[in-house]
């Protein structure tokens, strides 16, 4: 066999293996959601069984899925919009008018992501309590915005760097004010990048559990809280938990699937042109 062909086959197999490993928990969760509670904890695990929708019925009866889903959508989209709104001018300034400390600033912003969230739980909780932000959508939107801002700025910065400086300068010569420069030239030119950044931000918000569990109870609780509510004190009901998780991730899974081209672009940070 030609060495190049063999290399290709090995790489393909490795790719499938990695994809399989990553996808397996999701696959198993979906499978479990159609089992009875007894089958769900059976050893050895059963691959073949007669599927039942019983879990989904129970989940529906026990909690108002739509309520949580709407919260998830409002909070994810809201936080993403807010973060983008703040990040665009920041990334514009950093990409086109860098100062001597711009690189340091970017690194510092990223470094805030290295701190465990639990480290600021108490201060944030107290602040939220005093501000009356506990269990409010806007409260979570603020937290998620702050949480994602570094990565959104960083990604937009990378995408903006790809836009030739000349084009913006030509705009400036043509009489564009900074706001027009951003709105009429930079944003249309980096639209794919902005889209993938927003997508990633939505997904990160959607799956965030730490803050939503700590800062919401019912009113503003998103789907992550909905899932958690199925781990009852009496023990874990795997099948019902799986059913809840499946319907919780379904929208974002479909959304991610449809926009996977954009996502891949976003995740490679604009390295692929």
């Amino acid at each position: 066999m030609h060495p190049r062909t063999r290399e290709k086959i090995i790489l393909t197999l490795a790719g499938w293996l990695a994809a399989g490993l990553i996808f397996f928990p999701i696959f198993w969760m979906i499978l479990t959601s159609f089992k009875t509670e007894v089958e769900a904890i059976a050893t050895p695990p059963k691959l073949f069984f007669s599927p039942t929708l019983e879990n989904y019925v129970t989940v529906r009866e026990r909690a108002d899925y739509i309520h949580f889903a709407i919260n998830s959508i409002v909070i994810s989209v809201g936080a993403t919009l807010l973060a983008t709104l703040i990040a665009v001018p920041a990334a514009y300034a950093m990409a086109f008018f860098p100062g001597r400390r711009t690189k340091d600033l970017l690194l510092w912003m990223l470094s805030t992501k290295m701190m465990p969230a639990v480290g600021v739980l108490i201060p944030i909780y107290l602040l939220f309590r005093d501000a009356g932000a506990i269990d409010t959508r806007w409260g979570l939107i603020v937290v998620y915005t702050l949480m994602n801002l570094p990565i959104v700025v960083w990604m937009l910065y990378t995408f903006f760097k790809e836009v030739p400086k000349d084009i913006l300068e030509a705009g400036r010569m043509d009489g564009a004010k900074p706001k027009q420069e951003v709105w009429m030239l930079l944003l249309p030119l980096s639209l794919p990048g902005i889209a993938s950044t927003a997508l990633l931000s939505i997904i990160l918000c959607w799956n965030e559990a730490f803050w939503s569990l700590n800062l919401t109870t019912s009113e503003a609780a998103p789907l992550t809280t909905f899932i958690a509510s199925f781990s009852a004190p009496e023990g874990l009901f795997w099948a019902k938990l799986s059913a809840a998780s499946t319907i919780a991730i379904a929208p974002i899974l479909v959304f991610g699937w449809m926009s996977q081209r954009q996502l891949v672009r976003g995740l490679t940070f604009g390295a692929v042109k």
């Binding site: 084009i167 300068e169 030509a170 705009g171 010569m173 043509d174 009489g175 030239l185 030119l189």
Partner: protein, 377 residues
């Protein structure tokens, strides 16, 4: 009317000074070319005039008004970028009309002005296309059209032809010269190509290391270069330089002896040099010829035949390389020995500091402008 005056212009990035004090005045309707090797500061200087770079020190005056702190769009300039910098998401018409749109000009007026510019540049058929659907030359014309539409007082060109192929470059060169006549505007043009500079300029400004080496008409720079750098930069192939020693000085000429032993009397003014000084003789390839026999003899190492003329790269006895331009018809081949004749009237002499020693006679065409002075309209 648009005159541009630079007074002690300097530019520093942190502690690095890239423009080191430039004084220059550009007349109304003049075609001024900044030329120099890469990194000489010519593009930076243009961007400072445009308002895209801040001026660290000195004054920039447009029509007598200090504009150091005036934003680019209010200086009455238009710029054509090397990369064209067209707006990729807009049609040709929208590209050209963008400045008018920003200025709040009505749609009808915009369309009329764009159509007028498109007519001048033969772009009528492409107005609805996107830049990516155009060829390099067409994109270049759109970039120029975008500038024309604004009716600027001054056009700035930053190496606008360097992305085009050779044939198109020559064609665009002619079109730009024609445009300069038609628009009767002041133009500043940056290039590293001395042929572009020679063919288009009313005034050439030769820059090196952030200073002006010399500014003047193309033929002034060609016939009266101020120093070795300008002498070597203007003209193609480049001027030959030969080390020599002064053996006699009179008011009318200075006699020198070349390293190879040959003697030559060059008509330069006396005063700055004396017998025994080491000088550099400069002679252009086109001012040399082949002689049946002579004192300067060398071996041809490389022959370049261009058809109309032939360049002989010749090594002299002392190892110096000399480029000689000869007739296209000569049969001389590699490794042949040739005798070279120098026309002393066209030779240049440079002192130990590399500065030119003034010639006795000024070349009759040295002050000639590219075109007759414009009549005031």
């Amino acid at each position: 009317m648009a005159t541009i005056v630079l007074k002690g212009i300097e530019k520093s990035y942190g502690t690095v000074q890239v423009i080191k004090g430039i004084d220059l005045s550009i007349d109304d309707r003049e075609f001024c070319v900044f030329v120099g090797p890469s990194g000489c500061g010519k593009s930076t200087l243009l961007r400072m005039i445009a308002g895209l770079e801040e001026i660290t020190e000195g004054d920039l005056l447009i029509d007598g008004q200090k504009v150091n702190d005036v934003p680019p769009s209010e200086r009455g300039l238009a710029m054509v970028f090397q990369s064209y910098a067209l707006y990729p998401h807009m049609s040709v018409a929208d590209n050209m009309g963008f400045s008018l749109r920003l200025a709040g000009v009505s749609k009808e007026e915009r369309r009329a002005k764009v159509a007028e510019a498109a007519r001048i540049l033969h772009l009528d058929k492409f107005l609805d296309r996107k830049p990516k659907e155009l060829s390099g030359g067409q994109r270049q014309r759109v970039a120029i059209g975008r500038a024309i539409v604004r009716k600027p007082k001054v056009f700035l060109f930053d190496e606008p032809l360097s992305n085009l192929d050779a044939a198109l470059r020559v064609q665009m060169r002619i079109e730009l010269a024609r445009l300069h006549d038609e628009l009767a505007a002041t133009m500043i043009y940056v290039t590293h190509d001395q042929v572009e500079a020679m063919t288009m300029a009313d005034k050439i400004v030769v820059l090196q290391g952030g200073i002006v080496e010399q500014a003047g008409t193309p033929l002034e720079l060609y016939h009266h270069p101020r120093n070795l750098f300008v002498a070597g930069f203007i003209g193609s192939p480049k001027m030959n330089f030969l080390p020599a020693m002064v053996t006699a000085v009179t008011d009318a000429e200075t006699t020198i002896q070349l390293a190879g032993g040959a003697n030559l009397a060059v008509p330069v003014r006396s005063g700055r040099h004396k017998v025994g000084d080491t000088v550099t003789l400069g002679v252009r390839p086109e001012h040399m010829g082949l002689a049946g026999e002579g004192e300067i003899v060398g071996e041809v190492m490389v022959v370049e035949r261009l058809g109309g003329e032939t360049f002989l790269y010749t090594q002299l006895k002392d190892g110096t390389m000399l480029t000689v331009q000869a007739d296209g018809e000569i049969p001389t081949g590699v490794h042949e020995r040739i005798a070279i004749r120098l026309d002393s009237a066209t030779c240049h002499l440079f002192d130990g500091d590399g500065l030119a020693i003034e010639r006795v006679q000024r070349h009759p065409l040295a002050s000639l402008r590219r075109m007759p002075t414009h009549k005031a309209s």
